[in-house]
């Protein structure tokens, strides 16, 4: 019996040592991103040297995520936490508090705010209040929809990876260059396709596309939401319908997670097409990665812009 116990103990030690060695050999940078888009960029830059996961499932509005215990556990064990910064993810604070991982909290080495280095649009130039709706006090936070900003974000990620894991810095920088080169090439194609429609106007559901509009050379000043975060009211729907008709607007852009009833009603009455755009990688099956997501968005925009203007 005693001998059996000794064998058991020895076996357990061997198992523990073996798994520790295996873990050390496979040690990869454990990265948790708030959004799938950031996770995809991190995976592109990090390759096999990083293990990446995202908190928010792509089919949900990134403003209103309910982090789960499994998300808390992943953040608790993360080496690096990548987020949008600003006031996009209001659930980020409670998530970090619940995880209690002091190395990824604000200002710590394991935190990466991707808004750093981005020139933001729609920065309020006056004291704001909730009377203006769910307004963003730092400026519009949906900056990743512009591929020009993706280059900045990818560089920010590569620099951070290089700082945290200098042994693989060359790999990270090399992948960054490859990504940037591919993106530059695609941007030339996208711009060329969109060029004939420069200056045209679309309406939106929520004000989350100013960066994409800037890249595409389009305008979007009117929204189904009467104020940010306030669901469409009958009065606002009526106003937008009239506006679409008067300005011969060809498309109503919205993310897939918003109800489409109001846009459909306007579309039926005016002939404007619903343009379902992606905020996140994986939001639709076609948006497999960042490049595919932007490509999908450009195709959607072109699909509406190439239709006949509303009568």
């Amino acid at each position: 019996m005693k001998r059996l116990s000794l064998i058991w103990v020895a076996g357990l030690f061997a198992l523990a040592a073996g798994s520790r060695d295996a873990r050390a050999a496979e040690k990869r940078l454990n990265v948790v991103a708030t959004l799938t888009t950031f996770a995809d960029l991190a995976k592109t830059v990090g390759g096999d040297q990083v293990s990446v996961s995202a908190v928010a499932a792509p089919q949900f509005n990134p403003h209103f995520i309910e982090p789960k215990p499994s998300d808390v556990l992943r953040v608790k064990r993360a080496d690096l936490f990548i987020h949008a910064g600003l006031d996009l993810e209001l659930w980020r604070g409670p998530l970090l508090d619940a995880a209690g991982n002091t190395s990824v909290m604000s200002g710590q080495p394991g935190e990466l705010d991707l808004s750093r280095g981005i020139t933001l649009l729609e920065v309020p130039d006056h004291p704001v209040s909730r009377a203006e709706g769910d307004i963003h006090i730092y400026g519009n936070p949906h900056y990743w929809t512009d591929p020009e900003n993706a280059k900045i974000m990818a560089k920010t990620i590569a620099d951070k990876f290089s700082a945290v894991d200098p042994a693989h810095a060359q790999d990270y920088q090399q992948r960054l260059q490859q990504f940037t080169a591919r993106l530059d090439q695609k941007m030339t194609e996208w711009r060329s396709e969109l060029a004939p429609f420069r200056g045209q106007e679309l309406v939106g559901y929520h004000n989350e596309w100013p960066y994409l509009m800037r890249f595409a050379g389009l305008r979007m000043d009117k929204f189904l939401e009467p104020k940010p975060g306030i669901p469409p009211t009958p009065k606002q729907v009526e106003f937008i319908e009239r506006y679409v008709t008067e300005h011969k607007i060809r498309g109503i852009a919205q993310a897939t997670y918003y109800p489409q009833r109001a846009a459909h009603a306007i579309g039926q009455h005016t002939g404007a097409k619903i343009v379902l755009l992606c905020q996140s990688v994986g939001e639709v099956p076609e948006a497999l990665d960042y490049m595919a997501m932007v490509d999908y968005n450009v195709r959607q925009l072109l699909g509406a812009l190439r239709t006949e203007a509303a009568p």
């Binding site: 309910e66 982090p67 215990p69 909730r130 730092y138 975060g229 997670y257």
Partner: protein, 426 residues
């Protein structure tokens, strides 16, 4: 074709092509105008950036700090200026106010809180801020039409303890079950479930104590296990009957949460709670209770959320009666239990509906003759979400009491929040 017709055709072609050119030119002008507007905006933003950087340089020069010392936290774009404009305010606590206003019409003749009147049930003044890199302080001060101002919560959360454990110390809502652990404005219904209000307190349980929470290591990732253990001062919330009123003898509790990520749109949680406490100030622990909670959440679409939540408690009380100083004898149910089951469905971003069933056996068996074994209630409600920060709810509840009689209550609730209002993750 005659020369005249040829000439006319050519003129027609030229005019036609000019008409055809008119649209692109107008679009081009429009596009250029738009570009100029964008450039103007960009220049304005860059101007703000330069001003902000000049301000920072001035501050750095004044403080004598090297730029590299500030780099990690430095705001890098003009956009941060609204928040960063006042550096001193960055250290102010996050402050929020939550108001819960209730109108209630009841067929009961009892003078219960809020019956047949409109009242401010609760105003919560919420403060919170990190203390240092390892801890955070949160507090909730409540004002109400029905009671004096009081401290509902005031606790320190401490991270980074050995074993990835998180500690909470102070007055708080202990992690017991589901409904009692959350603030009233997070509840799906106007009122607490009956089993919570009759056993733990009409607003749930909040006591002063120490609570430790940690994840249990597991080789699988599909299920997450979180264990909480805690001790708190004796007693329960207002109107609760689980423990006695004395605060001298501490109570102990533990909660195990098991969470399944079934898919990206569906998750399930199964929890178990154990509590032990005293009904009086002596050294014995006469009351044990176990609780089970189950929650299933499914997003039919990103905007349509279905939630089913149930919670049950069973007590084991080592007392069958007590005799008061005046000789009054009170008989107790040794193993009372209660349960609720709630279904909530978010029909759209603006509207939600739901219903709840309650069953709870009373602890106190006086009078000896009961009309039925337990209080039972059926509730239905309609919620209107005006915005992320305000909500209106109409609820009807029919209750049959164990002691006999019934009650129909209509409740209309308005809940609004201003300032910074964060809830802990559950």
């Amino acid at each position: 074709m005659t020369p005249h017709r040829l000439t006319m055709t050519m003129i027609g072609c030229v005019l036609g092509s000019q008409v055809a050119w008119a649209d692109p030119m107008t679009e081009e002008v429009s596009a250029l105008r738009h570009d100029v507007q964008q450039l103007t905006t960009t220049v304005q933003q860059l101007t703000t950036t330069v001003q902000a950087q000049q301000q920072r340089i001035a501050q750095l020069e004044q403080s004598g700090a090297k730029p590299s010392q500030m780099a990690s936290n430095a705001p890098t774009v003009a956009a941060r200026q609204p928040a960063a404009a006042s550096f001193s305010s960055a250290f102010n606590p996050e402050i929020g106010v939550v108001a819960d206003i209730l109108g209630q019409r009841s067929s009961s003749s009892q003078e219960g809180d809020g019956n047949d009147k409109l009242s401010v049930r609760e105003i919560e003044l919420v403060f919170g801020h990190p203390i240092d890199p390892y801890s955070r302080f949160d507090s909730t001060i409540t004002f109400s039409d029905f009671e004096n101002p009081g401290v509902e919560e005031a606790y320190i959360t401490h991270w980074g303890l050995p074993g990835e454990i998180k500690a909470k110390l102070g007055r708080m809502r202990p992690k017991i079950g589901k409904a009692s652990a959350v603030h009233g404005d997070v509840l799906d219904t106007v009122d607490e479930p009956l089993v919570v209000s009759e056993y733990l307190g009409k607003e749930g349980l909040f006591r002063t104590g120490l609570e430790l929470t940690g994840f249990i290591p597991a080789p699988w990732t599909a299920v997450t296990h979180e264990l909480t253990v805690g001790t708190m001062e004796g007693g329960v919330g207002e109107g609760g009957h689980l423990f006695g009123e004395t605060r001298r003898r501490p109570s102990f509790y533990t909660h195990l949460k098991n969470f399944w990520d079934i898919s990206s749109t569906t998750n399930a949680e199964l929890g178990a709670t154990y509590l032990v406490g005293s009904k009086d100030a002596d050294a014995r622990y006469e009351v044990n209770a176990v609780g089970l909670d189950a929650t299933l959440v499914h997003f039919v679409t990103p905007a349509n959320k279905l939630k089913w939540q149930s919670e049950a408690y069973l007590q084991d009380r080592k007392e069958s009666f007590s005799i008061a100083n005046d000789g009054t004898r009170t008989n107790f149910n040794k193993n009372p239990w209660g349960v609720y089951s709630l279904v909530d469905y978010r029909l759209s971003p603006r509207v939600g509906i739901g219903g709840r069933f309650d069953y709870v056996q009373p602890v106190d068996l006086t009078p000896v003759t009961k009309a039925r074994n337990a209080d039972t209630a059926w509730s239905g409600y309609l919620t209107l979400y005006q915005s992320e920060f305000s909500r209106w709810r109409l609820q009807f509840r029919h209750t049959d009491f164990a002691a006999g009689g019934d009650d129909n209550t209509i409740m209309a609730q308005g809940t609004v929040a201003i300032g910074v209002h964060k809830h802990q993750l559950q």
